[in-house]
């Protein structure tokens, strides 16, 4: 009888330690699940913010392009060779204008953006002459530490037929979005 009693000594302590370790294990699992969930939501939030920033920058670039087309129309209106002057203004080949840098260089410069001029937003632009129209490709990327969102927009810039159409045509009518895709 005494032997049995002696054999039970310390059993409660062992039981408590076992229970405690079980609770600690459960707590650790819960904590890690919760932390993972929190991290994932946080990353998702940053990705979305980067996406909206890149998208916003592209929209602003589009607005800038419209403004630039308007300036090109204004410049070419008084010139003899309307179409060439219009194209030269857009491509930055106007010799009579010292500040004519062309649409591409204008779009690439962060200082020309009113809203999306942050240091974590980058704009790349290229223009291709396609006989009947100009193809403008703009890539906006927003980098937030390791997160990068890159969106590419392809626009077509139309060339007005002659000077007379300049009075009736709006700059918005001369540009349209051809393609819009997420690069990364």
């Amino acid at each position: 009888m005494l032997k049995k009693k002696q054999a039970n000594k310390g059993a409660i302590l062992v039981l408590v330690l076992l229970m405690t370790s079980a609770v600690i294990s459960a707590g650790t699992v819960l904590l890690s699940t919760s932390v993972t969930n929190y991290k994932m939501k946080h990353i998702n939030r940053r990705v979305k913010k980067a996406q909206y920033n890149a998208e916003g920058a592209l929209n602003e670039a589009y607005a800038i392009a419209i403004e630039y087309i308007e300036s090109a129309l204004g410049y070419a209106h008084d010139k003899e060779n309307f179409i060439n002057s219009y194209l030269n203004f857009l491509l930055g080949n106007c010799e009579d204008l010292s500040d004519n840098i062309g649409l591409i260089n204008f779009l690439k410069d962060n200082r020309n953006y009113i809203i999306y001029n942050n240091s974590n937003i980058f704009i790349e632009a290229e223009i291709f002459n396609k006989i009947d129209f100009l193809q403008l490709e703009i890539v906006a990327s927003c980098i937030d530490e390791k997160i990068e969102r890159k969106i590419k927009m392809t626009c077509h810039i139309l060339i007005p037929e002659d000077k007379s159409s300049c009075n009736t045509i709006e700059p918005e009518d001369l540009i349209y979005i051809y393609d819009w895709k997420l690069e990364s």
């Binding site: 408590v16 904590l31 979305k48 909206y52 607005a63 419209i66």
Partner: protein, 121 residues
């Protein structure tokens, strides 16, 4: 005689053992309960922020999809959140571009802000 002494020596051991175990258990229970409270709070906060982000995103997309847009500040309630939409025309782009800022509040605390531009044509 020897057996009696041994019995006397071990008497009260179970009580000390129980008290000692209880103390250990209580200390660990307190630590774990604090941890659980923190987890529940952060999980709740994370859920609110996520809901706020989804709300802000939905509102921003809805505004961008609207055929017409009017500048102004609009505020309304949605469930426990209050949403503030700030639509402003960007002067430099004439009436071609509008800046949209959506803010989501919970108990007057700003949870989320999303911003974008809408080109009217």
């Amino acid at each position: 005689m020897i057996k009696m002494r041994k019995r006397k020596l071990s008497s009260g051991f179970t009580l000390i053992e129980t008290i000692f175990s209880l103390v250990i258990f209580l200390i660990l229970f307190l630590a774990i309960s604090t941890l659980i409270v923190t987890i529940v709070k952060s999980s709740h906060d994370s859920r609110n922020r996520y809901q706020a982000l989804i709300l802000a995103q939905n509102r921003l997309e809805s505004i961008k999809a609207m055929p017409n847009i009017e500048a102004g500040t609009y505020t309304y309630e949605y469930d426990v959140f209050s949403i503030e939409e700030d639509v402003a025309m960007i002067e430099d782009y004439k009436d071609r571009a509008y800046r949209i800022i959506v803010r989501v509040y919970l108990n007057e605390k700003l949870l989320e802000t999303l911003e974008s531009i809408k080109i009217t044509r």
